[in-house]
Symmetry: C2
Subunit: 293 residues, 2 copies
Protein backbone atom coordinates (compact mmCIF):
# COMPACT_ATOMS: atom_id res chain seq x y z
CA UNK A 1 0.00 0.00 0.00
CA UNK A 2 1.37 3.38 -0.95
CA UNK A 3 0.08 6.22 1.15
CA UNK A 4 0.52 9.86 0.35
CA UNK A 5 2.43 11.32 3.28
CA UNK A 6 2.83 14.77 1.76
CA UNK A 7 0.52 16.33 4.34
CA UNK A 8 2.11 14.51 7.26
CA UNK A 9 4.42 16.59 9.43
CA UNK A 10 6.86 15.19 11.96
CA UNK A 11 7.07 17.27 15.10
CA UNK A 12 10.57 17.16 16.56
CA UNK A 13 9.05 16.33 19.98
CA UNK A 14 8.13 12.91 18.60
CA UNK A 15 11.76 12.09 17.87
CA UNK A 16 13.22 13.75 20.91
CA UNK A 17 16.62 12.05 20.71
CA UNK A 18 17.36 13.46 17.26
CA UNK A 19 19.02 16.72 16.38
CA UNK A 20 17.11 18.99 14.02
CA UNK A 21 19.28 17.81 11.12
CA UNK A 22 18.58 14.17 11.94
CA UNK A 23 14.83 14.71 12.34
CA UNK A 24 14.63 16.54 9.03
CA UNK A 25 16.56 13.75 7.35
CA UNK A 26 14.28 11.06 8.77
CA UNK A 27 11.16 12.97 7.75
CA UNK A 28 12.39 13.62 4.22
CA UNK A 29 13.51 10.04 3.65
CA UNK A 30 10.14 8.74 4.89
CA UNK A 31 8.36 10.89 2.32
CA UNK A 32 6.79 13.37 4.72
CA UNK A 33 6.02 16.87 3.52
CA UNK A 34 6.78 18.92 6.59
CA UNK A 35 8.28 19.16 10.05
CA UNK A 36 7.05 20.92 13.18
CA UNK A 37 9.94 22.44 15.05
CA UNK A 38 10.56 23.07 18.72
CA UNK A 39 12.58 26.10 19.62
CA UNK A 40 15.17 24.12 21.59
CA UNK A 41 16.13 22.05 18.54
CA UNK A 42 16.23 25.20 16.41
CA UNK A 43 18.47 26.94 18.92
CA UNK A 44 20.89 24.00 18.98
CA UNK A 45 21.19 24.04 15.21
CA UNK A 46 21.27 27.80 14.96
CA UNK A 47 18.32 29.70 13.51
CA UNK A 48 19.64 30.46 10.03
CA UNK A 49 21.12 27.02 9.64
CA UNK A 50 17.87 25.37 10.82
CA UNK A 51 15.95 27.30 8.19
CA UNK A 52 18.45 26.25 5.50
CA UNK A 53 18.40 22.58 6.52
CA UNK A 54 14.61 22.35 6.22
CA UNK A 55 14.55 24.32 2.97
CA UNK A 56 17.26 22.23 1.34
CA UNK A 57 15.43 19.04 2.30
CA UNK A 58 12.40 20.33 0.41
CA UNK A 59 10.17 20.33 3.50
CA UNK A 60 7.75 22.86 4.89
CA UNK A 61 7.75 24.01 8.52
CA UNK A 62 4.18 23.38 9.64
CA UNK A 63 4.59 25.27 12.89
CA UNK A 64 7.03 26.50 15.48
CA UNK A 65 6.46 25.30 19.05
CA UNK A 66 6.12 27.28 21.13
CA UNK A 67 5.41 30.75 22.36
CA UNK A 68 3.29 31.48 25.37
CA UNK A 69 3.67 31.33 29.16
CA UNK A 70 1.93 34.65 29.38
CA UNK A 71 0.32 34.43 32.81
CA UNK A 72 2.82 36.27 35.02
CA UNK A 73 1.34 38.78 37.48
CA UNK A 74 4.42 40.92 38.05
CA UNK A 75 5.54 43.53 35.51
CA UNK A 76 9.01 42.03 35.27
CA UNK A 77 7.59 38.58 34.50
CA UNK A 78 5.28 40.08 31.92
CA UNK A 79 8.12 42.01 30.26
CA UNK A 80 10.25 38.86 30.10
CA UNK A 81 7.39 36.87 28.57
CA UNK A 82 6.76 39.49 25.90
CA UNK A 83 10.44 39.60 25.05
CA UNK A 84 10.67 35.84 24.74
CA UNK A 85 7.57 35.72 22.55
CA UNK A 86 8.89 38.45 20.27
CA UNK A 87 12.01 36.33 19.82
CA UNK A 88 9.81 33.34 18.95
CA UNK A 89 7.92 35.43 16.38
CA UNK A 90 11.19 36.38 14.68
CA UNK A 91 12.27 32.74 14.70
CA UNK A 92 9.01 31.59 13.11
CA UNK A 93 9.32 34.19 10.36
CA UNK A 94 12.94 33.21 9.71
CA UNK A 95 12.03 29.53 9.54
CA UNK A 96 9.36 30.26 6.95
CA UNK A 97 6.26 29.36 8.95
CA UNK A 98 3.36 31.66 9.70
CA UNK A 99 2.14 29.53 12.62
CA UNK A 100 3.55 30.05 16.11
CA UNK A 101 1.85 27.69 18.57
CA UNK A 102 1.07 29.35 21.89
CA UNK A 103 1.01 27.32 25.10
CA UNK A 104 -0.31 30.11 27.27
CA UNK A 105 0.82 29.00 30.74
CA UNK A 106 -0.77 28.01 34.05
CA UNK A 107 -1.82 29.60 37.33
CA UNK A 108 0.57 31.81 39.29
CA UNK A 109 0.19 29.35 42.18
CA UNK A 110 2.08 26.79 40.06
CA UNK A 111 5.84 27.06 40.66
CA UNK A 112 6.64 24.88 37.63
CA UNK A 113 4.82 22.30 35.48
CA UNK A 114 3.79 19.18 37.37
CA UNK A 115 4.56 20.61 40.80
CA UNK A 116 2.43 21.19 43.90
CA UNK A 117 0.70 24.52 44.41
CA UNK A 118 2.35 27.29 46.40
CA UNK A 119 0.29 27.45 49.63
CA UNK A 120 -0.39 31.17 49.37
CA UNK A 121 -0.27 31.23 45.59
CA UNK A 122 -2.67 33.04 43.28
CA UNK A 123 -5.42 30.66 42.08
CA UNK A 124 -7.57 33.25 40.30
CA UNK A 125 -8.27 31.47 37.02
CA UNK A 126 -10.56 34.16 35.65
CA UNK A 127 -7.94 36.89 36.11
CA UNK A 128 -5.19 34.62 34.77
CA UNK A 129 -7.15 34.04 31.59
CA UNK A 130 -7.69 37.77 31.23
CA UNK A 131 -3.94 38.35 31.45
CA UNK A 132 -3.44 35.87 28.61
CA UNK A 133 -5.85 37.89 26.48
CA UNK A 134 -4.08 41.12 27.42
CA UNK A 135 -0.63 39.76 26.53
CA UNK A 136 -1.88 38.35 23.22
CA UNK A 137 -3.22 41.80 22.41
CA UNK A 138 0.19 43.32 23.14
CA UNK A 139 1.95 40.78 20.90
CA UNK A 140 -0.37 41.01 17.89
CA UNK A 141 1.13 44.14 16.28
CA UNK A 142 4.64 42.67 16.43
CA UNK A 143 3.38 39.36 15.01
CA UNK A 144 1.61 41.20 12.20
CA UNK A 145 4.79 43.09 11.32
CA UNK A 146 6.50 39.72 10.85
CA UNK A 147 3.58 38.06 9.08
CA UNK A 148 3.31 35.47 11.84
CA UNK A 149 0.10 34.18 13.39
CA UNK A 150 -0.27 33.53 17.11
CA UNK A 151 -1.89 30.11 17.25
CA UNK A 152 -3.75 29.51 20.50
CA UNK A 153 -3.60 25.92 21.71
CA UNK A 154 -6.45 24.86 23.99
CA UNK A 155 -5.00 22.22 26.30
CA UNK A 156 -6.54 19.26 28.04
CA UNK A 157 -7.86 20.44 31.43
CA UNK A 158 -5.38 18.06 33.00
CA UNK A 159 -2.90 20.88 32.27
CA UNK A 160 -5.05 23.86 33.28
CA UNK A 161 -3.20 24.42 36.55
CA UNK A 162 0.34 24.19 35.30
CA UNK A 163 0.67 24.56 31.53
CA UNK A 164 -2.27 26.14 29.77
CA UNK A 165 -5.34 27.95 31.09
CA UNK A 166 -6.98 27.83 27.68
CA UNK A 167 -9.06 24.68 27.98
CA UNK A 168 -11.50 24.60 25.07
CA UNK A 169 -11.61 25.54 21.43
CA UNK A 170 -14.64 27.75 22.07
CA UNK A 171 -12.76 29.71 24.72
CA UNK A 172 -9.77 30.10 22.41
CA UNK A 173 -11.95 31.31 19.55
CA UNK A 174 -13.71 33.75 21.87
CA UNK A 175 -10.32 35.19 22.78
CA UNK A 176 -9.20 35.25 19.15
CA UNK A 177 -12.36 37.09 18.08
CA UNK A 178 -10.87 40.47 18.98
CA UNK A 179 -8.18 40.04 16.33
CA UNK A 180 -7.89 39.39 12.60
CA UNK A 181 -7.92 35.70 11.60
CA UNK A 182 -4.52 36.19 9.95
CA UNK A 183 -3.13 37.34 13.30
CA UNK A 184 -4.64 34.98 15.87
CA UNK A 185 -5.66 31.43 15.08
CA UNK A 186 -6.20 28.13 16.85
CA UNK A 187 -4.77 24.65 16.60
CA UNK A 188 -6.75 21.47 17.11
CA UNK A 189 -4.65 18.89 18.96
CA UNK A 190 -6.66 15.70 19.37
CA UNK A 191 -4.96 14.86 22.65
CA UNK A 192 -6.18 18.08 24.17
CA UNK A 193 -9.68 18.43 22.77
CA UNK A 194 -10.96 14.97 21.80
CA UNK A 195 -13.40 14.91 24.75
CA UNK A 196 -15.01 18.31 24.10
CA UNK A 197 -18.81 18.08 23.66
CA UNK A 198 -18.70 21.16 21.42
CA UNK A 199 -15.77 20.03 19.29
CA UNK A 200 -17.71 19.58 16.05
CA UNK A 201 -19.36 22.99 16.18
CA UNK A 202 -16.21 24.81 17.25
CA UNK A 203 -14.03 23.20 14.57
CA UNK A 204 -16.61 24.33 12.02
CA UNK A 205 -16.56 27.79 13.56
CA UNK A 206 -12.75 27.91 13.43
CA UNK A 207 -12.88 27.04 9.74
CA UNK A 208 -15.61 29.54 8.95
CA UNK A 209 -13.65 32.28 10.72
CA UNK A 210 -10.44 31.42 8.88
CA UNK A 211 -8.63 30.63 12.12
CA UNK A 212 -7.94 26.90 11.78
CA UNK A 213 -4.17 27.11 11.73
CA UNK A 214 -3.13 23.57 12.52
CA UNK A 215 -4.19 20.00 13.13
CA UNK A 216 -2.08 17.93 15.51
CA UNK A 217 -2.77 14.27 16.11
CA UNK A 218 -1.85 11.87 18.84
CA UNK A 219 -3.88 9.49 20.95
CA UNK A 220 -5.19 9.58 24.54
CA UNK A 221 -3.89 6.38 26.12
CA UNK A 222 -4.63 4.73 29.45
CA UNK A 223 -3.32 4.00 31.97
CA UNK A 224 -1.89 7.49 32.29
CA UNK A 225 1.90 7.64 32.38
CA UNK A 226 3.60 8.71 35.60
CA UNK A 227 4.21 12.05 33.95
CA UNK A 228 0.85 12.81 32.40
CA UNK A 229 2.46 15.08 29.83
CA UNK A 230 3.99 11.95 28.35
CA UNK A 231 0.80 9.91 28.26
CA UNK A 232 0.36 10.04 24.52
CA UNK A 233 0.31 7.35 21.91
CA UNK A 234 0.34 6.56 18.22
CA UNK A 235 -2.98 7.07 16.48
CA UNK A 236 -5.04 3.95 17.10
CA UNK A 237 -3.44 2.97 20.42
CA UNK A 238 -5.85 4.95 22.57
CA UNK A 239 -9.40 6.32 22.75
CA UNK A 240 -9.54 9.12 20.19
CA UNK A 241 -12.02 8.79 17.33
CA UNK A 242 -9.66 10.01 14.58
CA UNK A 243 -11.90 9.34 11.59
CA UNK A 244 -14.69 11.49 13.03
CA UNK A 245 -12.51 14.37 14.20
CA UNK A 246 -10.51 14.33 10.97
CA UNK A 247 -13.70 14.58 8.93
CA UNK A 248 -14.78 17.57 11.02
CA UNK A 249 -11.41 19.22 10.36
CA UNK A 250 -11.61 18.46 6.63
CA UNK A 251 -15.20 19.73 6.43
CA UNK A 252 -14.04 22.97 8.03
CA UNK A 253 -11.83 23.49 4.99
CA UNK A 254 -8.49 22.70 6.57
CA UNK A 255 -5.96 21.93 3.85
CA UNK A 256 -2.74 22.25 5.81
CA UNK A 257 -0.30 19.81 7.31
CA UNK A 258 -1.16 17.22 9.92
CA UNK A 259 1.43 17.34 12.61
CA UNK A 260 2.22 14.34 14.76
CA UNK A 261 3.44 15.38 18.17
CA UNK A 262 3.77 12.48 20.58
CA UNK A 263 5.41 12.87 23.96
CA UNK A 264 6.06 9.36 25.19
CA UNK A 265 9.09 7.90 26.96
CA UNK A 266 8.67 4.51 25.28
CA UNK A 267 8.46 6.02 21.82
CA UNK A 268 11.47 8.22 22.53
CA UNK A 269 13.39 5.04 23.43
CA UNK A 270 12.61 3.30 20.12
CA UNK A 271 14.57 3.64 16.88
CA UNK A 272 13.43 6.96 15.34
CA UNK A 273 12.95 5.34 11.94
CA UNK A 274 10.63 2.80 13.56
CA UNK A 275 8.79 5.64 15.36
CA UNK A 276 8.27 7.43 12.05
CA UNK A 277 7.14 4.19 10.41
CA UNK A 278 4.55 3.65 13.17
CA UNK A 279 3.50 7.28 12.92
CA UNK A 280 3.00 6.98 9.17
CA UNK A 281 1.03 3.74 9.63
CA UNK A 282 -1.31 5.37 12.17
CA UNK A 283 -1.72 8.35 9.86
CA UNK A 284 -2.47 6.10 6.90
CA UNK A 285 -5.08 4.01 8.70
CA UNK A 286 -6.84 6.47 11.01
CA UNK A 287 -6.34 9.96 9.58
CA UNK A 288 -5.39 10.16 5.92
CA UNK A 289 -8.51 8.47 4.45
CA UNK A 290 -10.67 11.14 6.13
CA UNK A 291 -8.67 14.21 5.20
CA UNK A 292 -10.62 15.11 2.11
CA UNK A 293 -14.04 16.49 2.89
CA UNK B 1 -12.87 29.58 66.31
CA UNK B 2 -16.24 27.90 66.10
CA UNK B 3 -17.40 27.11 62.62
CA UNK B 4 -20.88 26.04 61.69
CA UNK B 5 -20.50 22.62 60.09
CA UNK B 6 -24.20 21.97 59.72
CA UNK B 7 -24.01 22.21 55.92
CA UNK B 8 -20.90 20.04 55.70
CA UNK B 9 -21.47 16.48 54.54
CA UNK B 10 -18.95 13.67 54.84
CA UNK B 11 -18.92 11.40 51.84
CA UNK B 12 -18.08 7.84 52.84
CA UNK B 13 -15.46 7.71 50.07
CA UNK B 14 -13.37 10.16 52.11
CA UNK B 15 -13.18 7.74 55.05
CA UNK B 16 -12.88 4.60 53.00
CA UNK B 17 -11.67 2.39 55.86
CA UNK B 18 -14.78 2.99 57.94
CA UNK B 19 -18.02 1.06 57.90
CA UNK B 20 -21.17 3.08 57.38
CA UNK B 21 -21.87 3.01 61.12
CA UNK B 22 -18.37 4.28 61.91
CA UNK B 23 -18.52 7.02 59.28
CA UNK B 24 -21.88 8.21 60.54
CA UNK B 25 -20.54 8.24 64.09
CA UNK B 26 -17.47 10.27 63.12
CA UNK B 27 -19.56 12.76 61.15
CA UNK B 28 -22.09 13.22 63.94
CA UNK B 29 -19.46 13.63 66.64
CA UNK B 30 -17.64 16.23 64.54
CA UNK B 31 -20.82 18.28 64.27
CA UNK B 32 -21.48 17.72 60.59
CA UNK B 33 -25.05 17.87 59.31
CA UNK B 34 -25.03 15.17 56.69
CA UNK B 35 -23.33 12.22 55.05
CA UNK B 36 -23.00 11.24 51.41
CA UNK B 37 -23.28 7.50 51.02
CA UNK B 38 -21.76 5.06 48.57
CA UNK B 39 -23.81 2.05 47.66
CA UNK B 40 -21.13 -0.45 48.70
CA UNK B 41 -21.16 0.82 52.30
CA UNK B 42 -24.95 0.82 52.32
CA UNK B 43 -25.03 -2.76 51.03
CA UNK B 44 -22.61 -3.90 53.73
CA UNK B 45 -24.76 -2.37 56.46
CA UNK B 46 -28.02 -3.46 54.88
CA UNK B 47 -30.35 -0.89 53.32
CA UNK B 48 -32.95 -0.57 56.06
CA UNK B 49 -30.34 -0.58 58.79
CA UNK B 50 -28.26 2.05 56.95
CA UNK B 51 -31.30 4.31 56.74
CA UNK B 52 -31.97 3.82 60.46
CA UNK B 53 -28.37 4.48 61.48
CA UNK B 54 -28.27 7.82 59.68
CA UNK B 55 -31.72 8.82 60.93
CA UNK B 56 -30.95 7.97 64.53
CA UNK B 57 -27.72 9.98 64.36
CA UNK B 58 -29.79 13.00 63.35
CA UNK B 59 -28.00 13.38 60.01
CA UNK B 60 -29.27 14.00 56.50
CA UNK B 61 -28.20 11.92 53.49
CA UNK B 62 -26.96 14.56 51.04
CA UNK B 63 -26.72 12.11 48.14
CA UNK B 64 -26.34 8.49 47.18
CA UNK B 65 -23.33 7.62 45.01
CA UNK B 66 -23.80 6.33 42.47
CA UNK B 67 -25.97 5.30 39.58
CA UNK B 68 -24.83 5.42 36.00
CA UNK B 69 -22.61 3.37 33.70
CA UNK B 70 -25.21 3.70 31.00
CA UNK B 71 -23.07 3.47 27.88
CA UNK B 72 -23.42 -0.19 26.89
CA UNK B 73 -24.08 -0.88 23.22
CA UNK B 74 -25.61 -4.35 23.53
CA UNK B 75 -29.22 -4.84 24.65
CA UNK B 76 -28.18 -7.16 27.49
CA UNK B 77 -25.73 -4.60 28.85
CA UNK B 78 -28.37 -1.90 28.59
CA UNK B 79 -30.94 -4.04 30.41
CA UNK B 80 -28.48 -4.79 33.19
CA UNK B 81 -27.62 -1.11 33.56
CA UNK B 82 -31.27 -0.10 33.79
CA UNK B 83 -31.91 -2.79 36.38
CA UNK B 84 -28.97 -1.69 38.49
CA UNK B 85 -30.04 1.94 38.30
CA UNK B 86 -33.60 1.12 39.30
CA UNK B 87 -32.16 -0.62 42.37
CA UNK B 88 -30.12 2.50 43.14
CA UNK B 89 -33.25 4.65 42.84
CA UNK B 90 -35.05 2.47 45.38
CA UNK B 91 -32.05 2.66 47.68
CA UNK B 92 -31.93 6.45 47.48
CA UNK B 93 -35.62 6.72 48.31
CA UNK B 94 -35.26 4.33 51.23
CA UNK B 95 -32.29 6.26 52.58
CA UNK B 96 -34.27 9.47 52.50
CA UNK B 97 -32.35 11.37 49.84
CA UNK B 98 -33.76 12.74 46.60
CA UNK B 99 -30.34 12.99 44.96
CA UNK B 100 -28.85 10.01 43.13
CA UNK B 101 -25.49 10.96 41.63
CA UNK B 102 -24.98 9.54 38.14
CA UNK B 103 -21.51 8.67 36.88
CA UNK B 104 -22.56 7.92 33.34
CA UNK B 105 -19.73 5.67 32.14
CA UNK B 106 -17.04 5.72 29.48
CA UNK B 107 -16.50 4.56 25.91
CA UNK B 108 -17.28 0.97 24.87
CA UNK B 109 -13.62 0.66 23.85
CA UNK B 110 -12.73 0.86 27.55
CA UNK B 111 -12.68 -2.61 29.15
CA UNK B 112 -12.59 -1.21 32.69
CA UNK B 113 -11.61 2.10 34.33
CA UNK B 114 -7.95 2.99 33.97
CA UNK B 115 -7.23 0.31 31.38
CA UNK B 116 -5.94 0.43 27.82
CA UNK B 117 -8.37 0.62 24.92
CA UNK B 118 -9.59 -2.52 23.16
CA UNK B 119 -7.86 -2.39 19.75
CA UNK B 120 -11.07 -2.79 17.78
CA UNK B 121 -13.25 -1.12 20.39
CA UNK B 122 -15.99 1.40 19.75
CA UNK B 123 -14.64 4.96 20.16
CA UNK B 124 -17.72 6.81 18.94
CA UNK B 125 -18.07 9.47 21.61
CA UNK B 126 -21.02 11.22 19.98
CA UNK B 127 -23.08 8.03 19.85
CA UNK B 128 -22.01 7.06 23.38
CA UNK B 129 -23.26 10.36 24.71
CA UNK B 130 -26.55 9.86 22.89
CA UNK B 131 -26.98 6.47 24.56
CA UNK B 132 -26.54 8.14 27.94
CA UNK B 133 -29.35 10.55 27.10
CA UNK B 134 -31.53 7.66 25.92
CA UNK B 135 -30.97 5.64 29.10
CA UNK B 136 -31.64 8.67 31.31
CA UNK B 137 -34.92 9.13 29.48
CA UNK B 138 -35.83 5.52 30.18
CA UNK B 139 -35.03 5.87 33.88
CA UNK B 140 -36.84 9.14 34.53
CA UNK B 141 -40.38 7.72 34.97
CA UNK B 142 -39.14 5.19 37.54
CA UNK B 143 -37.18 7.88 39.36
CA UNK B 144 -40.23 10.14 39.42
CA UNK B 145 -42.36 7.36 40.90
CA UNK B 146 -39.88 7.16 43.75
CA UNK B 147 -39.44 10.92 44.12
CA UNK B 148 -35.72 10.61 43.32
CA UNK B 149 -33.71 12.93 41.08
CA UNK B 150 -31.10 11.66 38.65
CA UNK B 151 -28.14 13.96 39.28
CA UNK B 152 -25.79 14.15 36.31
CA UNK B 153 -22.15 14.53 37.26
CA UNK B 154 -19.94 16.12 34.63
CA UNK B 155 -16.50 14.61 35.11
CA UNK B 156 -13.03 15.95 34.48
CA UNK B 157 -12.07 15.08 30.88
CA UNK B 158 -9.28 12.98 32.33
CA UNK B 159 -12.08 10.43 32.88
CA UNK B 160 -13.94 10.86 29.58
CA UNK B 161 -12.63 7.61 28.12
CA UNK B 162 -13.18 5.33 31.07
CA UNK B 163 -15.61 6.74 33.62
CA UNK B 164 -17.84 9.54 32.43
CA UNK B 165 -18.54 10.91 28.97
CA UNK B 166 -20.31 13.93 30.43
CA UNK B 167 -17.49 16.44 30.54
CA UNK B 168 -19.01 19.87 31.19
CA UNK B 169 -21.82 21.41 33.15
CA UNK B 170 -23.22 22.95 29.97
CA UNK B 171 -23.40 19.55 28.29
CA UNK B 172 -25.09 18.05 31.35
CA UNK B 173 -27.65 20.86 31.51
CA UNK B 174 -28.33 20.49 27.79
CA UNK B 175 -29.07 16.81 28.38
CA UNK B 176 -31.20 17.58 31.45
CA UNK B 177 -33.25 20.16 29.54
CA UNK B 178 -35.57 17.48 28.15
CA UNK B 179 -36.76 16.64 31.67
CA UNK B 180 -38.31 18.35 34.68
CA UNK B 181 -35.82 19.96 37.07
CA UNK B 182 -37.21 17.79 39.88
CA UNK B 183 -36.32 14.70 37.84
CA UNK B 184 -32.90 15.44 36.36
CA UNK B 185 -30.37 17.71 38.02
CA UNK B 186 -26.64 18.32 38.07
CA UNK B 187 -23.93 18.29 40.69
CA UNK B 188 -20.96 20.64 40.74
CA UNK B 189 -17.84 18.80 41.88
CA UNK B 190 -14.93 21.21 41.98
CA UNK B 191 -12.43 18.49 41.12
CA UNK B 192 -14.23 17.82 37.88
CA UNK B 193 -15.22 21.30 36.70
CA UNK B 194 -12.87 23.85 38.28
CA UNK B 195 -11.11 24.50 34.96
CA UNK B 196 -14.26 25.11 32.86
CA UNK B 197 -14.24 28.53 31.14
CA UNK B 198 -18.05 28.60 31.27
CA UNK B 199 -18.35 27.50 34.89
CA UNK B 200 -19.76 30.78 36.22
CA UNK B 201 -22.46 31.08 33.59
CA UNK B 202 -23.45 27.42 33.76
CA UNK B 203 -23.67 27.35 37.56
CA UNK B 204 -25.96 30.37 37.33
CA UNK B 205 -27.98 28.56 34.67
CA UNK B 206 -28.24 25.43 36.84
CA UNK B 207 -29.57 27.55 39.68
CA UNK B 208 -32.02 29.43 37.50
CA UNK B 209 -33.35 26.16 36.09
CA UNK B 210 -33.73 24.62 39.56
CA UNK B 211 -31.31 21.82 38.75
CA UNK B 212 -28.42 22.53 41.12
CA UNK B 213 -28.70 19.36 43.17
CA UNK B 214 -25.34 19.18 44.88
CA UNK B 215 -22.03 20.85 45.58
CA UNK B 216 -19.03 18.59 46.13
CA UNK B 217 -15.65 19.96 47.06
CA UNK B 218 -12.16 18.63 46.86
CA UNK B 219 -8.97 20.02 45.42
CA UNK B 220 -7.01 19.38 42.20
CA UNK B 221 -3.49 18.51 43.37
CA UNK B 222 -0.25 18.04 41.48
CA UNK B 223 1.74 15.98 40.84
CA UNK B 224 -0.99 13.60 39.78
CA UNK B 225 -1.15 10.38 41.77
CA UNK B 226 -0.26 7.12 40.02
CA UNK B 227 -3.96 6.40 39.91
CA UNK B 228 -5.39 9.69 38.72
CA UNK B 229 -8.75 8.90 40.30
CA UNK B 230 -7.01 9.27 43.65
CA UNK B 231 -5.32 12.54 42.87
CA UNK B 232 -7.51 14.66 45.10
CA UNK B 233 -6.72 16.73 48.13
CA UNK B 234 -8.14 18.69 51.03
CA UNK B 235 -9.46 22.10 50.10
CA UNK B 236 -6.49 24.45 50.02
CA UNK B 237 -3.87 21.84 49.11
CA UNK B 238 -4.26 22.24 45.36
CA UNK B 239 -5.21 24.67 42.62
CA UNK B 240 -8.95 25.17 42.94
CA UNK B 241 -10.21 28.68 43.64
CA UNK B 242 -12.81 27.66 46.26
CA UNK B 243 -13.90 31.14 47.36
CA UNK B 244 -14.81 32.14 43.80
CA UNK B 245 -16.58 28.91 42.85
CA UNK B 246 -18.40 28.79 46.20
CA UNK B 247 -19.68 32.34 45.67
CA UNK B 248 -20.97 31.33 42.23
CA UNK B 249 -22.78 28.37 43.78
CA UNK B 250 -24.23 30.52 46.56
CA UNK B 251 -25.32 33.22 44.09
CA UNK B 252 -27.13 30.53 42.11
CA UNK B 253 -29.31 29.99 45.17
CA UNK B 254 -27.84 26.72 46.35
CA UNK B 255 -28.78 26.16 49.99
CA UNK B 256 -28.01 22.44 50.29
CA UNK B 257 -25.21 20.44 51.80
CA UNK B 258 -21.58 20.69 50.77
CA UNK B 259 -20.24 17.22 50.34
CA UNK B 260 -16.57 16.44 50.74
CA UNK B 261 -15.54 13.50 48.62
CA UNK B 262 -11.80 12.96 48.54
CA UNK B 263 -10.27 9.88 46.96
CA UNK B 264 -6.69 9.82 48.17
CA UNK B 265 -4.55 6.91 49.36
CA UNK B 266 -2.68 9.07 51.86
CA UNK B 267 -5.87 10.43 53.37
CA UNK B 268 -7.36 6.95 53.54
CA UNK B 269 -4.27 5.88 55.50
CA UNK B 270 -4.66 8.59 58.16
CA UNK B 271 -6.79 8.41 61.29
CA UNK B 272 -10.38 9.09 60.12
CA UNK B 273 -10.93 11.59 62.93
CA UNK B 274 -7.88 13.50 61.73
CA UNK B 275 -9.17 13.32 58.15
CA UNK B 276 -12.49 14.79 59.24
CA UNK B 277 -10.69 17.47 61.25
CA UNK B 278 -8.64 18.46 58.18
CA UNK B 279 -11.76 18.37 56.04
CA UNK B 280 -13.60 20.64 58.46
CA UNK B 281 -10.63 23.02 58.58
CA UNK B 282 -10.51 23.28 54.79
CA UNK B 283 -14.25 23.83 54.70
CA UNK B 284 -14.02 26.52 57.36
CA UNK B 285 -11.23 28.45 55.67
CA UNK B 286 -11.94 28.08 51.94
CA UNK B 287 -15.65 27.32 51.54
CA UNK B 288 -17.89 28.20 54.46
CA UNK B 289 -17.24 31.98 54.50
CA UNK B 290 -18.46 32.18 50.90
CA UNK B 291 -21.57 30.06 51.19
CA UNK B 292 -24.00 32.88 51.79
CA UNK B 293 -24.62 34.92 48.69
Amino acid sequence: MTVDLSRLSLNTATTKALTLEEAVDVAARAGLGAVGLWRDRVAEAGLERAAAVVREAGLRVSSLCRGGFLTAVDPEGQRAALEDNRAAIVEAATLGTRELVMVVGGLPANPSPGQAALPDGDRDLVATRQRVADRIGELVPFAEEHDVRLVLEPMNPIFAADRGVLSTLEQSLDLAADFAPESVGVVVDTYHVWWDPKLASQIARAGAEGRLAGYQVCDWVLPLADDSLLSRGYMGDGYVDFPTITRWVASAGYAGDVEVEIFNEQIWATDPLEAVRRTAAGFASAVSPHLTA
